[in-house]
């Protein structure tokens, strides 16, 4: 069974990367199904629905904290945010309604799990994705913004929350935790050497253990939210803090630059990826970074670089004359090799293509060899530029 779930996850990922033409509705629904399966699996592993365990339904045993932030829950979260943003940005209105429904389902599931930050993450992702697509007018945006704020406040001040931790010290507690991290770690070179940022399943548990070790208490379980500055500081000291935040800003800004470039379909993927990963970084400001954020940032960087390279291809193709476009299209259809004499305009276009590594050109009787399939996909869609 376990291998089956893993295969589903891998196949969805491969479908998502290799066949964007399958349509966002299909991939969105697949992602949501994946999210539902994984969250349901995490309920089964926990043995109980945590926020509903009052009185008669009370937990028989203590929940392992690690189960809360295991990759299973995180994969479920990814499924929900990807699926709902994909469906919401689809052209068909029915899919958009399904997207909102899926987002609400995600909020409900993560409310049952008691993962408040993830609820904030889902809401923020949706707001950002809709904003990046310019899909809302000002009134709708205000309505959704305040609706989300009220929903989140209602959830965070629920009765169960008061049992777990005093509601009115949530933010104060995190800065206090940062204070504890500073006092219990070596500020110059760090203490844990990567154990917090790359720890499995949750490095913040190690941070909590180190603090207890320093202050001499008995660790009884649980992690610590020490803001985004806490984990790199405890791992690698002040140099690590500077390096991590530099990279965070750098990658997020490259992603932000990449969302407005690229073709229509790529733009959708890019906006979904950026909104999800940026929202996760935003909630990590208070929640603290972990291995999952690190992995997501690598993915964002990879996707952004790919989109930027496509944008450059588009820039170069905009210099090509219409005759050249039709010639290259016929070249694509006939099979990759062509002998031709070119006019001056076409020479310029071929030079441009060669400069960006899209074709190989041999002189005299000119033979053009296209490099890769991608250039023709770009060419076909970019011909309307």
């Amino acid at each position: 069974m376990a291998i089956g779930y893993l295969l589903i996850a891998i196949s969805v990922f491969i479908l998502f990367i290799l066949f964007p033409e399958l349509g966002h509705g299909f991939i969105g629904r697949m992602a949501i199904e994946l999210g539902v399966i994984f969250v349901a699996l995490s309920f089964i592993l926990l043995g109980v629905i945590p926020t509903l365990s009052y009185g008669f339904f009370k937990l028989p045993t203590a929940i392992g904290y690690e189960a809360y932030t295991s990759p299973i829950v995180l994969t479920g979260y990814c499924g929900f945010i990807l699926g709902s943003t994909f469906l919401m940005t689809d052209n068909r209105s029915w899919n958009r309604i399904w997207g909102f429904m899926a987002a609400l389902l995600g909020v409900l599931f993560f409310y049952w799990l008691g993962l408040w930050f993830f609820i904030a993450g889902i809401l923020l992702t949706i707001l950002l994705a809709l904003r990046c697509f310019d899909a809302m007018n000002e009134k709708e945006e205000l309505l959704i913004f305040f609706g989300m704020a009220i929903l989140f406040l209602l959830l965070i001040v629920s009765p169960r929350r008061a049992f777990i931790v005093s509601t009115f010290t949530s933010f104060w507690r995190m800065f206090f935790s940062l204070d504890l991290v500073i006092k219990s770690s070596d500020l110059l070179i760090g203490t844990t050497g990567g154990g917090v940022l790359f720890g499995i399943p949750d490095g913040r548990v190690l941070m909590s253990q180190m603090i207890y070790q320093k202050i001499g208490g008995t660790w009884t379980g649980g992690g610590i939210d020490a803001t985004i500055f806490g984990a790199p500081l405890m791992d690698f000291g002040i140099i690590g803090l500077m390096f991590f935040l530099f990279l965070l800003g750098f990658i997020l800004n490259i992603g932000y630059k990449a969302i407005n470039t690229g073709l229509k379909e790529t733009k959708k993927v890019m906006i979904s990826a950026y909104a999800g990963i940026y929202a996760f970084s935003i909630i990590a400001i208070m929640r603290g970074p972990d291995y999952f954020l690190v992995t997501l940032l690598i993915i964002l960087f990879a996707v952004s670089l790919s989109t930027l390279s496509e944008a450059i291809s588009l820039q170069s193709l905009s210099l090509i004359t219409p005759e050249m476009r039709s010639m290259l299209s016929s070249l694509y259809q006939t099979g990759g090799l062509m002998y031709s004499l070119l006019f001056d305009d076409d020479k310029m276009a071929v030079d441009t293509l060669r400069k960006f590594g899209l074709v190989k050109v041999h002189h005299d009787v000119i033979r053009i060899t296209p490099v890769g399939r991608r250039v023709f996909e770009v060419l076909e869609q970019g011909s309307s530029l």
């Binding site: 904003r131 995190m174 500055f229 800003g249």
Partner: protein, 111 residues
């Protein structure tokens, strides 16, 4: 001349705006909570230094992204290779975390 506040003016998707908005709101909430609950806000001065240093380096990272984005994009020929390698690294990391998770049913014994 009239000024009307438009939510669209606040570019939430911008990494600089989002980060500082959330950080400042959190700090304000922390101050409000300390006032309400009679808690001390007198953390070690190093806390404020760390927040300032971290935010400053985040800003530097964002501006470096602005500065280098065109230079990076000009390396178009290598971008695909780099992005593919990064994706493979990310998939590997994801699978490794997935399999090495001590709470999952498909636990991998890495001890």
């Amino acid at each position: 001349m009239s000024f009307s506040f438009n939510l669209k003016m606040l570019d939430l998707a911008n990494p600089l705006v989002g980060f500082f908005l959330v950080l400042i709101i959190s700090l304000l909430f922390a101050v409000a909570e300390s006032l309400y609950g009679g808690l001390s806000l007198a953390f070690d001065k190093l806390v404020w230094v760390i927040i300032l240093v971290g935010s400053a380096w985040y800003c530097i990272g964002v501006f470096a992204g602005n500065f280098f984005v065109k230079r990076i994009a000009r390396l178009q020929r290598y971008l695909r290779i780099v992005s593919n390698i990064l994706l493979i690294v990310a998939i590997y990391l994801g699978l490794f975390f997935f399999l090495a998770d001590t709470t999952s049913p498909w636990q991998l014994d890495i001890s």
